[in-house]
């Protein structure tokens, strides 16, 4: 169980260990995780809140907002708004905070391979 099995891929190029240990990589991983993990928990909680309210808060969901439009419809449409919004925010965040670091590390990888 402890030694590498024959059908497992071979030990990788050491350049990956070097890259993994750089402060740039640690920073990239920190930035990525510190965005996607809380964001995922938030949108899942927000979605489950909607499902739970649809199930168990019929009276609240039936409240009229204007004309024939009630809270249930507004809440449902808000799920669309937050989905579009979070997608947009992530696109901006990844473009400015993640991509430059990732591009730099990828260049270092090409250089590291050329040397090795």
């Amino acid at each position: 169980m402890t030694e590498a099995q024959p059908d497992q891929a071979a030990r990788h190029d050491p350049v990956y260990d070097t890259l993994h240990a750089t402060p740039e990589f640690t920073e990239l991983r920190r930035r990525y995780r510190s965005f996607v993990l809380p964001a995922s928990l938030a949108f899942l909680a927000w979605y489950l809140l909607y499902v739970v309210l649809s199930n168990w808060a019929g009276g609240f969901m039936a409240t009229t907002v204007v004309g024939n439009i009630n809270v249930a419809l507004v809440f449902g449409l808000l799920q669309f708004v937050t989905t579009f919004g979070l997608a947009f925010v992530y696109a901006r965040y990844s473009g400015s905070k993640l991509d430059p670091l990732a591009t730099q590390l990828e260049k270092d990888y090409e250089k590291g391979r050329a040397r090795g």
Binding site: A9, G58, Y109
Partner: protein, 535 residues
Amino acid sequence: MSTQFLTTTLFLLVVALTVGITLWASRQTKTAADFYSGGRSFSGFQNGLAIGGDYMSAASFLGISGAIAVYGYDGFLYSIGFLVAWLVALLLVAEMLRNAGRYTMADQLAFRMRQRQVRTAASVSTVVVSIFYLLAQMVGAGTLVALLLGVDSQAVQNITIVGVGLLMIFYVVVGGMKGTTYVQIVKAVLLMIGSALIVVLVLAEFNFNLSSLLGAAAENSGKGESFLQPGLQYGSTLTAQVDFLSLGLALVLGTAGLPHILIRFYTVPTARDARKSVLWAIGLIGAFYLMTLVLGFGAAALLDRDAVDPAAGGQQNLASPLLAEVVGGGEGSTGGAVLLALIAAVAFATILAVVAGLTLASSSSVAHDLYKGVIKKDQPVSEKDEVRVARIAAFVIGAVAIVLAIPAQRLNIAFLVALAFAVAASANLPAILYNMFWRRFNTRGATWSIYGGLVSAVGLVLLSPVTSGAETSLFPGSDFAIFPLNNPGIVSIPLGFLLGFLGTISAREPAAEDRFTELEVRALTGAGAEQASQH
């Protein structure tokens, strides 16, 4: 001109167009990368359209608008889960999968684990999910074509199923990923334009006032205010409520584990393009579900109640095509006939594009994972040989789907789709997420979570009222339903995650932990990821 004639003509046009595209694409399909991933040369926008084409199934187009037409607000609940689910794909899966894998879902697991075991597990789960989803689409196609041609005959439905099956085999065998992608792009464009046209015509009937549309829908439904509130379809017993929660979980967590969606991320040159494709897909799919809201309530407001309500012998799934006929000028009018035929052809194109994606995903996995990775693991396999096996696998899977779809006509389509999502969420998603985020994760954890999620999701359905113990069951005569819910997700998804955890901590696999270093660097930076092929 009769509607039947117009409909048949447009159906044949759709078939001719897609066959033409496939033949054209086949000339550019030479290598394995071409066959599996279209040479990774699609742009983010093209792939976004294709993802939309792959995802917006007949179950969405006909099923959701029909459910809204009959049950009002509750039909809308489905589409919200289907949309929000894309955030899981965007934030946690698409980019890292693009960087870490090559052709199939199994690749990113095999990257650091024991090939034979994880490839077998991932391939089994890919084929099972795809077959459930395929059956839903093919059964839907049979019903749709028979109804649209106005012939209520079992023979027509069977012929349609065989015809759709042969077409999808043709798209995949001849066109590979390139052909399939273009078929999906064409379908997505047709679907968006067709839906938008009907939406504008419906809204025009109500002077573009959403509130009056809703008011008319509630009044015509005969159910009043409650038509616009949650609860009509799912009921208010505790079992029904927990069942709905269970469905909601499977919808939101299933999308990012659907193999035919996952392989689409490999068709673009970089992870950034994979991200762009998901962003486009979210925009398209969101816009589409907003349109189904108008289509559904429009059908409730404008159609004769008995035409769509299954309780009155109506055809729920025909709400959208019938609505097109009404806003086009009504039955017997030229405008009505043209729009009905148009929407019917769009629905048909929709089914063809989705079944092609599913067949491609499962045949790729059989050839790349089972044949090359497991059966011929110790021998060199040429690309030509691998692609040949993938084509044979597409034939076999297509044939199996045809044979299964004919008896499956007794099953409920929405249920088959929900089951595919539940299996994807329980078996595939835990393994994908653990693999990307947890160094300690290993072969045993991966196989336990995949087989555990798969067996528990399918097993619970076998022990549920879907299979026995109720009038609507597959076997209404017997009763072995010890699990009260129709949707297994609330149990099987946590179980998939738990088994992945337990399997992992009960074994140590230093090689897998060591290779995580490369996986992580690759996944986050793209260093060493598969490149687009040069043409």
